[in-house]
Symmetry: none
Subunit: 196 residues, 4 copies
């Protein structure tokens, strides 16, 4: 936060502004003002407005992706891996509410630039879930009648919607652990083989 260079100052400002107003309603001048730079300065670091949004994703998702991958690498228990994924995701969303908002909102935008990006970086992030589930099925821990692709959507959709509690509603009192526990309890019971 302190010795930030212009680039990251703008990224931070843009994340905030996009979170607050949405991509289309946000003005370049809003971002510039928030970053305390001139409008023109932004174009020294980014090609255009879309490029800023892209960079917000790239850096934001990239960080989470990197950290998550590192944590998962040291693990080979599918259940524990899902737990890590869920907790990491919710922690990140809780911590950087602006980024969370941007991901939740703008990722849905019907826009070629964004969609194109989504297919690359973001689907790598959600794809982790698919991989874990397949891994768990091979290990005989997760039920074989579960579709890895569909259940990836089920878990990620749940996570995405559930993480809105910290942004949109009056339910901000939930802790990450509490929320993670609910999601994991439900999802794991749902996909694990009966173990009684």
């Amino acid at each position: 936060m302190k010795a930030e260079n212009k680039h990251s100052k703008i990224i931070t400002a843009a994340t905030k502004v996009f979170a607050k107003k949405g991509f289309f309603t946000a003005r370049i001048s809003d971002i510039a003002k928030e970053a305390k730079v001139a409008d023109g300065t932004i174009y020294l670091y980014f090609n255009n407005k879309y490029d800023i949004l892209l960079s917000v994703f790239e850096e934001g998702v990239g960080k989470i992706l990197g950290k998550t991958q590192k944590l998962l690498a040291a693990n080979d228990d599918p259940v524990e891996m899902l737990r890590i994924y869920v907790i990491e995701h919710l922690t990140a969303m809780r911590k950087n509410k602006n980024l969370a908002e941007v991901i939740q909102i703008e990722l849905r935008q019907t826009n070629k630039v964004i969609k194109q990006y989504r297919d690359k970086k973001f689907s790598e992030y959600t794809g982790i879930i698919t991989t874990i589930i397949q891994f768990g099925q091979e290990k005989g821990v997760f039920r074989s009648d579960i579709h890895p692709d569909l259940s990836k959507r089920i878990l990620f959709g749940a996570l995405d919607e559930v993480s809105r509690v910290w942004n949109v509603t009056l339910e901000t009192h939930y802790t990450v652990e509490e929320v993670a526990d609910q999601v994991l309890t439900i999802f794991l019971r749902g996909i694990m083989v009966a173990n009684n």
Copy 2:
């Protein structure tokens, strides 16, 4: 489809255009052309661009809401009620892909007008889930340690994301039953009290 009046012709056109281009990228003239009316005509039926989006929701969600409420009224088994909700939602999303796209995409927009609406009509629709879960808990069918509000988000988020298979990806081959089954299997196992 035939004897449509202007109002619903515009709604249908707007749903299509919003689904294809997104709210902000869509132009009034696009909708007018799609509806085969003059630009100005639109303003005889709607106050402004936001109002069109609002109406698209109002009518779209309203129909699903109405039908779902009717079906649920004749039922008092929480499990069956969730099944009905899930199947009705997915069927609607599958049937009217344009509406599905609009709901999925635009609902996320951070915009006062839409948010304000969401709080009224849409949360009534998702609120049904909360009610069913509480009802099930009272009946002792659903575990008491489940947060109705959180699990509402978990189920709706899962449904929302899962219904994207028919719009965005190459996975359009899934049937409604197949998808519903996966969601219900996982979610119900997750929230039901052990019944062995």
Copy 3:
């Protein structure tokens, strides 16, 4: 001037503004104000700023070209034909000073769009000179050692520069006849075979 439609009102205004300020210094809002329409109205009739300039040429040069071709069609005396060309050109430049200024100034602009145009419409206009000279050479009226292409440039350059007397300097007192006579006297003596 009276029952002008929007299109020609804008053309007229643009001609005036381009003549006064030059293409690059002219603002769309200048043209709009001059034409007494809103800025946006201009884009109902033209694609962009270049398109306006193009149209100014197209229509301006087109008219002169048309009239000149018609007059020349009824004639087969090379000397008389050159006389007609010179007088018509100077009359047009004198009459529509704004168009004259635009042609003289902007035609020189290094710009792909304009250059491309020049190669089509405008060179058809100056090409008439080449044709007349070749015709005169075939008839044995003009000297055979004259390069039609170079002398086309010589005559057109002379005409172009000479017609500036009515726009730029204090020499506006010259009559078209006077100026035409000087150009013709010099040029015809220069290219005709000795006839003593």
Copy 4:
């Protein structure tokens, strides 16, 4: 070319860039890059963009003017003087195509700064023609019914347009002598008294 100082390096670069892109389309950074200096450095030597253009003229035209005046000073035959003027001008245009382009294109710009300049330096250069013609009339070599001012425009316009063969068209094969001969043949026959 080697031990050029910054000032002339910038002038040379600007001439090249203006010739290629035109004054308005050229960017200061283009010139800086071409001159291999920083953008800011240009402002140590010139007040602004117009000032650069002005200097390009000043130096370019100045050189031609100086050389032409020197050559003419040693001569008192009007016909020979015109021949010198024509050949010198065409040689200069042929040699420094960039300067030629700039003069041909930008001199036409309707712009106060440039116009103001044109009235001083450039008209001194074209004024030479007027002087020679008046001199020739006094000597009885040139016809007395020729307007010195108009014929100055006629000759200069011809020269200006004719010198474009080396820049714009596919006719670059013409030699200076060939072109000069055509211009001189036509113009001299046109203005000289009958000499049979």
